[in-house]
């Protein structure tokens, strides 16, 4: 139990540091966070930029003469209340944007992770079992090449081949605009079809990297004494492969699995932008492009929370599945 208390304390400390980091970073960015809003106000109402700035400041609840500490206090107290801030560009609360974009991101990420992890584990273990054969050579070489392709290039490729040329995949969005969202089979199948492009762009390089890690871990485990001892006891190869090799080789990967989900939350900005897919990454990219500092801070905080939580979950999962962690 001590283990979990320690981890929880650790989580809280990391969280406080990360949140402060986000705040300092965004506050030290050049330019006024209200400037974007002020420009649009000035254009709409045909007034001077100084006046518009004042209005914008009031709208966003910012006092430019306030000290950084008071602003920090407000930021933290808002966060503790679950308020991620205000988006000037979309003229709505960041919470609302998160509420509508997070599900899409999680949907694509979990699909991509599930697919890439299962296939990668299988391929990696298979390659390691076929050590020093052509099959292993092919799997390893192809994986190394695919792993090196950045997801956004793959995204452009998929978009070009499947959406523009072959026209089997939609061009963008989470679902067709002319269909009302419902739980009908047609709508659900459309959702999957629309998610397929970004999902593949994320999953394929991921799969290659799982394959390579699993192959490495597996061949390392296969050298262990307990494998030879299992063979000496006359255990069947299939039992050894599953219980002795795969289970031990997978352990470190399960931990990185949770962490990779956390990182993907913020790391798919380019893929989601290319597919016009309304996930967290898409809004994150938009926030940078239009200098919407409020949205940027909010999403940044969310991503940081995601990564920390994922690391935390990874630790928990690791302690659950590996007896060596809990007991020490």
């Amino acid at each position: 139990m001590n283990y979990f208390i320690n981890k929880t304390l650790y989580l809280l400390i990391v969280f406080a540091i990360a949140i402060s980091g986000v705040f300092v970073l965004v506050n030290n960015m050049p330019g006024d966070p209200a400037y974007g809003l002020a420009v649009s106000i000035a254009q709409q109402r045909n007034m001077q930029i100084e006046q518009a700035l004042e209005i914008a400041h009031k709208m966003m609840g910012i006092d430019p003469h306030e000290s950084i500490f008071i602003r920090y206090g407000k930021f933290v107290s808002n966060l503790l209340k679950g308020n991620f801030g205000y988006s000037a560009f979309y003229n709505t609360s960041v919470n609302e944007i998160i509420a509508k974009s997070l599900p899409w991101s999680l949907f694509v990420i979990s699909l991509a992770t599930f697919l890439s992890f299962t296939i990668g584990i299988f391929l990696g273990a298979f390659a390691a079992q076929k050590r020093d054969t052509i099959i292993e050579g092919i799997i390893s070489t192809v994986s190394s090449i695919i792993q090196a392709i950045p997801p956004f290039i793959l995204a452009v490729l998929i978009l070009f081949v499947f959406s523009v040329r072959l026209k089997v995949l939609p061009l963008g969005g989470a679902y067709p605009v002319d269909i009302e969202p419902s739980f009908s089979l047609e709508f659900i199948s459309k959702i999957f079809l629309h998610a397929l492009g970004p999902m593949l762009a994320i999953a394929i390089p991921q799969m290659a990297s799982w394959t390579l890690s699993m192959r490495g871990n597996t061949s390392q485990i296969m050298e262990e004494d307990f494998i030879r001892f299992a063979e000496a006891r006359g255990l069947r190869d299939s039992v050894i492969a599953a219980k002795y090799v795969r289970n031990n080789a997978m352990l470190p990967l399960v931990a990185s699995l949770a962490i990779s989900v956390g990182y993907m939350l913020g790391g798919q900005t380019l893929v989601e932008s290319i597919f016009n897919y309304p996930g967290i990454g898409f809004y994150f990219g938009k926030a940078i492009a239009v200098r919407d500092f409020g949205l940027l801070t909010g999403l940044f905080t969310l991503i940081v929370i995601g990564v920390i939580l994922a690391t935390f979950i990874a630790d928990f999962v690791y302690a659950l599945i590996d007896p060596r962690v809990k007991l020490k």
């Binding site: 307990f226 001892f229 000496a232 006891r233 006359g234 002795y244 289970n247 599945i321």
Partner: protein, 335 residues
């Protein structure tokens, strides 16, 4: 007495980048049923290779080039993998050297017992399995309740070694082969394991073969001793005879190097020189560069293992079949 295992002309090598390591070179010996045989030699002399080749459990770069291993008249080396798998553990159990890493770190001890039983299609239900496993654990003086549901990391080195022995006894094999059962353990635990093996030998109808670099352990446990030097079997004799009257100069040196035999510390003598490289072994007798009795022929031709008297076998030009070759060997024994 019947030989339960007969090794004939066994030759095994390891393939490495630099060439082949000739780790076991034409080894022949017999193991009588219900006897204890010790295979003694320095580190890297090829003693583990012999038992691993005998059970076909060599590491991936190991190759058996020739020879036969007859178990009750059947050649183990020509069996198919599936036939061999069925014999392994049920009839011949091999406890490997690295007891510390031989258990799956993510599995409880009970699951190791369970897997072993399932692999051999023994129809025990869960209670029977627990009963049998507990029985064997008690035999090696472990507390079953404490050990069965523990993970390997919760056990000490001596406990792990005993768990392996208990696992080996589970299906009541006829032959139990142990690779360095006492090394990597502290002196007290060593004494404990030796005591335990002695008791097992009395309690069960079992043939024991064990490998050790410690000739004192061999003296305590074994009926017969096989001395290995540089991948060659150089002497095979009963334990009593080997200590009373060592034939090969190397065996002689080996016995002189242990303190317990020599009450006077000044008589403890190390063997001069280094163990031979098995990559490029010396020509002729592999011991000749370190041997005080080396003759011209020792450098050129390899001595064959010959029977001297009363079953004593030695590979040395100081002896001839059926008796001593020349008297110098007796004179020289005075050192």
């Amino acid at each position: 007495m019947n030989p339960i295992i007969k090794v004939e002309d066994l030759k095994a090598v390891y393939l490495v980048r630099e060439g082949t390591i000739k780790a076991a070179d034409r080894i022949s010996f017999e193991v009588q049923e219900n006897s204890v045989t010790a295979i003694v030699g320095e580190s890297a002399s090829g003693k583990s290779t012999i038992i691993e080749a005998m059970t076909k459990t060599l590491p991936p770069n190991g190759r058996i080039l020739s020879g036969k291993v007859l178990y009750n008249g059947k050649d183990i080396l020509t069996l198919s993998n599936e036939e061999l798998r069925k014999i392994k553990w049920k009839e011949i159990a091999l406890v490997p050297q690295a007891a510390q890493q031989s258990l799956n770190p993510t599995m409880k001890i009970i699951d190791h017992f369970k897997d072993t039983v399932e692999a051999h299609r023994v129809n025990w239900n869960h209670n029977e399995l627990i009963k049998k496993a507990s029985e064997k654990l008690k035999m090696v003086r472990l507390n079953p309740e404490a050990v069965l549901y523990a993970y390997p990391l919760q056990l000490s080195g001596g406990m792990k070694q005993r768990v392996l022995i208990a696992l080996a006894l589970l299906l009541e094999p006829k032959v139990l082969i142990l690779d360095e059962p006492t090394s990597a353990l502290d002196v007290l635990t060593q004494a404990h394991i030796i005591q335990l093996l002695k008791e097992l030998k009395k309690m069960l109808n079992i043939t024991l073969i064990f490998v050790t670099h410690d000739i004192a352990v061999a003296a305590e446990l074994a009926d017969n001793v096989a001395v290995i030097y540089g991948g060659n079997l150089i002497e095979f004799n009963s334990t009593f005879q080997i200590f009373k009257n060592p034939l090969h100069p190397y065996t002689n040196g080996l016995i002189n190097s242990i303190m317990a035999v020599n009450a006077d510390m000044s008589k403890v003598k190390p063997i001069p020189g280094d163990p031979p490289s098995l990559l490029n072994p010396p020509s002729g007798c592999r011991f000749h560069p370190r041997c005080e009795h080396a003759m011209e022929i020792c450098k050129k031709e390899k001595p064959q293992l010959i029977e001297i008297e009363n079953g004593a076998q030695v590979a040395c030009y100081l002896y001839k079949e059926g008796g001593r070759w020349n008297e110098t060997s007796d004179k020289n024994r005075s050192y």
